[in-house]
Structures are given as structure tokens and as C-alpha cells.
């Protein structure tokens, strides 16, 4: 059997980073929600929020631990599996990784310890500050890793000389054309994820009639928060990201939007069945002009299609198209769910709509899936390049590592991640079933 080290390295990267990327969105989302919860607990002296903080703090701790554990691999696998890439772009890509470590990893890791172990050791204000630093740190971390990834999508501030990409302007490289919009888009996705995790867990507690006083306040908070962030994700952030892709990565836009032939008055595809070699879209439902209008603000604008590019420079069509459209569909679903929740909340009917509470429980994994799909669309949509128009993925691997070695590591990490994933679900479900601690009996005053 002939194993292809490029394919294996890509599989390994997809697996290790895909599995890792389950956890940071949950952590970032929960951390910001905990900033609000602990803030209420501290400033209002409301013990319901204190118990809510302890309860969701435990879920954050488990999530964070698996995120940290699987994150270690991230820092080293550029060197292990992508040595040629590391040598070629190390002058640029290494810097955001260092900045992430110095400005983010230290902050979030150090203060998570303070948050988890310091509740009774520190003043309430300092304890609140510790969860704020966890939230800030994890968000800064997202920023720097998106700087690195965005540079690979839309490289800037560099020159190719001496057989490598060399930095010419740090700020242009950091704030390359896609960094900021992708940062907002991704952090927003993390906040949606946190909101749905919290809402789903609170709904479960309500269904089981377990600590309803905590569950109600948690549900109310997560629905209001979730509605705001889901709407913001559609506009301006999701839309803004698509416009950026249209301007800077036309091949990717054509693939995600399913535009085979370039045209003016380009349609938006609501549904379609894609196939490859050559790229084709069947049974599609389209609205003419909308893509031109969304991408360029003009329904008559010409949008390039996949056939406008050399066949060896377009991304795999099926996966890019399907992942993107599924993500968008889920995004609409999140808005709908949160709108219904807000409506029920407004009508004071939320607490006993069992169908809706069940829907929330069922929806817990969906934002995580949406994050994965968005990431797949972004990364697969960049192919065949590892750094857009600068370096091909096939040229980026480690030449000294054999296919057999990579296969070994895929199997090893695969088994470990299956085990960790199962344990994570088991522990979170267990913690949720146990529920928040019982409130102290109200002091009876005569």
C-alpha cells in the first residue's frame, strides 16, 4: 500500500486541530458568560448567581483542561509535520505564536488557577478579576491564532527573498486584509457556543426541575445574550467576512457560494447538490443578483466563478460548498431558536414550554458543529495553498518524516482523542446531572 505523506499530514492536522477546536469556543463563550454571572454575584450579592458561577465554573474547568491538553500539540506540530512550511514562513508565522503565548496563554492559564482555587482565598473583587482575565486571555489567544491563520489566507507585509518569506512590515502582516473580520466572526461564534451550552444545560435542569432558581436565571441570561450574539454574527460579522473573501480570495468565494461560471447578476444559492471533476451544481435553488449585491453592493457586478480559474488552483468544491452552506443554515437556526426563546421570555411562558426546553438541550452540540464547519470551509477553501498564492500545501510537509510514522501518530492521537472525547462528555453530563449546589435556607427573620 502506498501511503501519501501529504494526505496523512493533512488528515493528522485536521484531526488534531479539529478536536482541539471543540473546546476553545466553549471556553471563551462560558468565560465571558461567567464574567457576567460572577459580576452579578459579586455586585448584587445574589447567592443564586454565586451558585450559578460555581456550577458553570466547573464545566469551564473540565472544558479548559481538555482544551489545554490538546492545545499542546498545536504549538509543536508545525515543526513535526510541516517542517518545510515552518522553514519557509517561520520568520512571519512564529511571531503571532510567541505573542499568543506571552499575552494570552500565561494570562488565561495563570488566572484560571486563581479563579478555580481562589474563591475562598481572595476578595470577591479579585476573584471576579480572575475570571475576567481568563476571558480576556482566551480572547487574546483567539486574536493571535487568527492573525497567524489569516496571514495564511491573505498574506501581507512580507517579501519572498533568500528562499523564504521575510517580514517587511509587522503591522501589515498582523492586520492583513482578513484578520479583524475573521477575529470578530470567530469570537462571535464562540459566544454563541457558550450561550447555547449554558441555555441547554439550564433547560435540562428545568426539565428535571433541579435547582430551578439557578436554572431560570441562567436561561434568561443565556437567551438574551445568545440572541444578541447570534444576530451580530449574521450582520455585520458573517456578511463582512463573506465580503472580505469576495475581495481577497475569489476562488474560495466561488466554491463556498457554488458559482461555477462567472457572471454578472450572480445568484445566491439557497440549496444545491455539488459534485466534483469538473465542479457541478445540480438541483439548485437560486436567487439571481443577490450574490453580486452582497459581495459588491451592486446586483450587476461580475462575480468570478470556479471556471474562471486554472483547475489546479481551485479548492475541492464539494466539501467547501457543503460545509459553508451547512454553517450558514445553522447560523439562521441559532437566530430562530433565540428569537423564540426571547419571545417566550417576554410572554412569561418560557419556564414550562417543555418542547422548547428539549429543543435547547438538543441544540447544545450544534454551535460546536457550526464552528467546525466554518473552519473546514475556511481551510479547505484555501486549498491547494497552505499560504494563499505563496506556498502549496503539498510543498509544506516534513521531508524527513515517513508516512508510516505519521500513520502511527494519527492512530495514537485518534485513540487518545476518542478516549478524551468520551470522558469529556461523561464528566460534563455527570456534572450537569448533579446540578448546582443546594441553596442555603433563607434566614428566617422574625
Amino acid at each position: 500500500m502506498n501511503l501519501d505523506p501529504v494526505l496523512l499530514s493533512r488528515l493528522q492536522f485536521a484531526m488534531t486541530i479539529g478536536f482541539h477546536f471543540i473546546f476553545p469556543p466553549v471556553s471563551i463563550g462560558l468565560a465571558w458568560l461567567l464574567v457576567i454571572i460572577e459580576g452579578f454575584g459579586w455586585r448584587r450579592g445574589d447567592e443564586v448567581y454565586v451558585r450559578m458561577g460555581k456550577f458553570f465554573g466547573k464545566l469551564l474547568a473540565i472544558t479548559f483542561a481538555v482544551g489545554v491538553a490538546t492545545g499542546i500539540v498545536m504549538e509543536f506540530q508545525f515543526g513535526t509535520n510541516w517542517a518545510e512550511y515552518s522553514k519557509f514562513v517561520g520568520d512571519i508565522i512564529g511571531v503571532p505564536l510567541v505573542a499568543e503565548g506571552v499575552f494570552a496563554f500565561f494570562l488565561e492559564s495563570a488566572f484560571l488557577g486563581v479563579y478555580l482555587f481562589g474563591r475562598n482565598k481572595l476578595s470577591k473583587g479579585v476573584h471576579w478579576f480572575s475570571i475576567l482575565m481568563v476571558a480576556v486571555g482566551s480572547t487574546i489567544s483567539a486574536f493571535w491564532i487568527l492573525v497567524a491563520n489569516s496571514w495564511m489566507q491573505t498574506p501581507a507585509g512580507y517579501v519572498i527573498q533568500n528562499g523564504r518569506a521575510e517580514l517587511t512590515n509587522f503591522f501589515e502582516a498582523v492586520f492583513n486584509p482578513s484578520t479583524m473580520i475573521r477575529f470578530f466572526h470567530t469570537v462571535e461564534a464562540a459566544l454563541i457556543t457558550g450561550a447555547f451550552v449554558m441555555a441547554g444545560v439550564a433547560a435540562y435542569l428545568l426539565l428535571k426541575n433541579n435547582r430551578a432558581e439557578v436554572a431560570r436565571k441562567a436561561l434568561k441570561l443565556s437567551i438574551i445574550f445568545g440572541l444578541i450574539v447570534s444576530l451580530l454574527e449574521l450582520f455585520p460579522f458573517g456578511h463582512g467576512h463573506a465580503v472580505q473573501v469576495a475581495q481577497t480570495q475569489p476562488e474560495k468565494l466561488a466554491a463556498i457560494e457554488g458559482l461555477i461560471d462567472g457572471q454578472t447578476n450572480a445568484p445566491m444559492v439557497l440549496f444545491g447538490v455539488p459534485s466534483e471533476d469538473p465542479p457541478r451544481l445540480d438541483y439548485s435553488i437560486k436567487i439571481p443578483g443577490v450574490l453580486s449585491w452582497l459581495a459588491y453592493g451592486n446586483a450587476e457586478a461580475y462575480v468570478k466563478g470556479l471556471n474562471d480559474f486554472p483547475p489546479d488552483e481551485i479548492p475541492p468544491f464539494w466539501l467547501t460548498f457543503v460545509s459553508f452552506h451547512s454553517m450558514v443554515a445553522l447560523g439562521q437556526y441559532f437566530i430562530a431558536v433565540m428569537l423564540i426563546g426571547a419571545f417566550l421570555l417576554y410572554r412569561k411562558k418560557l419556564w414550562n414550554q417543555r418542547w422548547y426546553l428539549k429543543l435547547l438541550v438538543f441544540s447544545i452540540p450544534l454551535p460546536i458543529i457550526a464552528c467546525q464547519l466554518g473552519w473546514i470551509a475556511a481551510e479547505v477553501g484555501r486549498q491547494p495553498w497552505v499560504v494563499y498564492k505563496v506556498m502549496k500545501t503539498a510543498d509544506a510537509i516534513s521531508l524527513t518524516v515517513s508516512a508510516g510514522e505519521i500513520l502511527f501518530s494519527i492512530i495514537l492521537f485518534g485513540l487518545i482523542y476518542l478516549f478524551l472525547g468520551a470522558l469529556y462528555i461523561y464528566l460534563v453530563v455527570r456534572e450537569v446531572k448533579r446540578g448546582p449546589e443546594v441553596g442555603q435556607a433563607k434566614k428566617v427573620t422574625a
Partner: protein, 339 residues
């Protein structure tokens, strides 16, 4: 005038030293965990490092990141060359990380035993492998004229590197035991003190052996460096720190003993770095093929940007890290928040 590449050679040394001192005691505690006598001791072990281990591990990530950014060919060549060893190391660190959080979550003896082993072996393996990695660097890696690694996984397990691996283990067990003397009292503290003394003897013997072996295996490391005042300063400080450990232990001045062992670690890494300089990875194939701070560094612009990041960021990091150690200083007490 010291050039930027040299500055970053030194700074990466500082980062890895920070890692070795801080996560070093975590790993040592993890190894000692394999010898704990009962559940209470095991909980004390885990909670003694509970609030700080995660921040400590970040020093490794930042060190790795800095190596990537400052010396990309070194990062690429060494990590792809060490492929299987590094994969095993990462797997061990994954298990170590989750075992701390997972162990206390389910109240069943089988569950706890699983995570006790995971914590212990997840610490033992890195404690040895880091030493083996350093040993291979000191010995030199098989690198050809194009800077490509030409060796094999089994080639990394040569006697000299294994010796350095065991040296690293003894040093970290000593260091971890000294940390535990700060976190415990009574009979457990006395036992930790004994562990530290035992490991100290092992460490001294192994260090002497390692020094002799290094002179035989890698004579180039001593070329010129014996005239360097920095080398002799580090060496004298090392000797003083090593001798000071048993003296302070005897008088039960545990904090001083722990600080001495921290200085010991710093001096050892410093000596290795001074001897290696300007090489980062000597080539055993031909010394002329070595990766050095000159032929393997990033551009001055990148090194400058990173220096600014480090000068802005690290004082803040060190500030709050010191604050956090102050908050959690003193003996480990098991409370409702504990693991």
C-alpha cells in the same frame, strides 16, 4: 556589541530555564506521586501544584513558539527529526494535563487509580525525555549539508542521551520533593525531605558521570569555553548551589533548599547553552553543518519585533505569576475546591 540572534539564543535559554524550574517541580511531584502511600497524600500532591501547573507549562509553549519564530530551521529540523519521541512526549503531557482535572471528579477507586497512573507516568516520561532530548543536542544530531535530519528514532536512544535523561529525572525528583517540603508538614514533609536527599545523591553522581561523558562524547563543547568567565561563574554558582541543598535540608530551611535547586537547574542549562553557543544544534555528521545562531535565525526585523513583545509582555507575566505564587504559598490544605 551583542547581536539580536545571540540575544534570542539567550532568551530562549531563559524560557526553557523558566520551564525547567517551574514545570520541573510539577513533573517531579508527578513522579513522586507514583510512590505516594494513600489517597490523602495523592490529593495533597495534586493540589500542591493544582493552582500553578497550567501556567508553568506555558513556559514550554512559549519557548517552543520562540524557537519557531527566532530559529525556524532549528524548530523544523529538530521537531521533525525527533518525530516519534515528540509524539510520545505530547501524548504524555496530554495525559498529565487531564489527569489533574479528572481524578477528583468521580469517587471510585478504579477511576482514581487510572488517573494516578496517568499523572505519574505522564510526568515520568517527560522528565526523562526532556533530558534525552538535551543529551542528543549536546551530542550532536545527524544533520547533512542541507540541514536535513538523517537519523532514526532508535538513534536518539543512545547511551549518552539516556544518561542525560536519567540525570534529568534525578534532578526533577529532587526539585519536586523540595517543592513538596514547602507544601506539607509532619511525617510527609520528613519523607519528602528524605526523597530530596536521596535524589540529591543520585543527581551528584550522575552529574559527575555526565560531565566526564560529555568531555569524551562532545569535546567540541569545551573548545574555547573554558576561557569564558561566564562559564566559570555559572560553574562556581552551580557547585555552591548543589552543596547548599543538603546543608539547608539538614536545618529544615526548605525554602532555601528549593531556591538552591532552582539555581542548580538554571546553572546547568546555562552551562549547556554557553558551551553550545553559537551552535543551536551541532551536526554529528560534520560540525560545519551545524545549525547556528547565524545560519538559522530569522530576520533582524522579526527578532526585533519579538524582543519588543518579550520586553512588554514578560515583566507583566512575571509580575502576576509572582503574585499568584504569593496567594497560594503555604501548606496545601484540602478544601471543597480541591481536586
Amino acid at each position: 556589541m551583542i547581536d539580536l540572534s545571540t540575544v534570542w539564543f539567550a532568551l530562549i535559554g531563559v524560557l526553557f530555564t523558566g520551564y525547567a524550574i517551574l514545570d520541573g517541580f510539577d513533573l517531579g511531584v508527578g513522579v513522586l506521586h507514583l510512590f505516594a502511600r494513600n489517597d490523602k497524600e495523592r490529593r495533597i500532591n495534586m493540589n500542591a501544584i493544582g493552582p500553578v501547573w497550567d501556567g508553568n507549562e506555558v513556559w514550554l509553549l512559549v519557548g517552543g513558539g520562540a524557537l519557531f519564530a527566532a530559529f525556524p530551521p532549528v524548530y523544523a529540523t529538530v521537531f521533525s527529526g525527533y518525530y516519534l519521541a515528540l509524539i510520545l512526549l505530547l501524548a504524555a503531557l496530554i495525559f498529565r494535563a487531564v489527569s489533574l482535572e479528572f481524578r477528583g471528579k468521580v469517587d471510585s477507586p478504579g477511576w482514581r487509580r487510572l488517573w494516578d497512573w496517568s499523572f505519574g507516568l505522564g510526568s515520568l516520561l517527560p522528565a526523562i525525555l526532556f533530558g534525552v532530548a538535551v543529551g542528543n543536542i549536546l551530542r550532536g544530531l545527524p544533520i547533512d549539508e542541507n540541514g536535513m535530519f538523517t537519523g532514526s528514532f532508535l538513534g536518539l536512544l543512545n547511551p549518552y542521551s539516556i544518561l542525560i535523561g536519567v540525570l534529568s529525572l534525578s534532578m526533577l525528583v529532587m526539585h519536586g520533593a523540595l517543592y513538596m517540603t514547602l507544601k506539607t508538614n509532619g511525617s510527609l514533609q520528613a519523607r519528602m525531605s528524605k526523597w530530596a536527599s536521596g535524589a540529591w545523591i543520585g543527581f551528584v553522581v550522575l552529574y559527575l558521570l555526565a560531565t566526564i561523558s560529555t568531555a569524551l562524547v562532545s569535546p567540541f563543547l569545551f573548545d574555547g569555553v573554558l576561557k569564558s568567565p561566564l562559564f566559570w561563574m555559572l560553574f562556581l554558582l552551580l557547585v555552591a548551589a548543589v552543596i547548599y541543598i543538603p546543608l539547608t535540608l539538614k536545618e529544615e530551611k526548605y525554602f532555601r533548599a528549593f531556591m538552591s535547586s532552582s539555581i542548580t537547574i538554571a546553572c546547568l542549562i546555562g552551562l549547556a547553552a554557553v558551551s553550545l553557543y553559537p551552535r543551536l544544534v551541532p551536526s554529528i555528521t560534520n560540525l560545519a553543518y551545524s545549525l547556528t545562531v547565524y545560519n538559522a535565525s530569522s530576520t533582524p526585523r522579526t527578532l526585533t519585533v519579538m524582543l519588543i513583545i518579550a520586553l512588554v509582555g514578560m515583566p507583566i507575566v512575571i509580575g502576576y505569576t509572582a503574585y499568584i505564587y504569593r496567594v497560594f504559598k503555604g501548606k496545601t490544605v484540602i478544601t471543597e475546591e480541591s481536586y
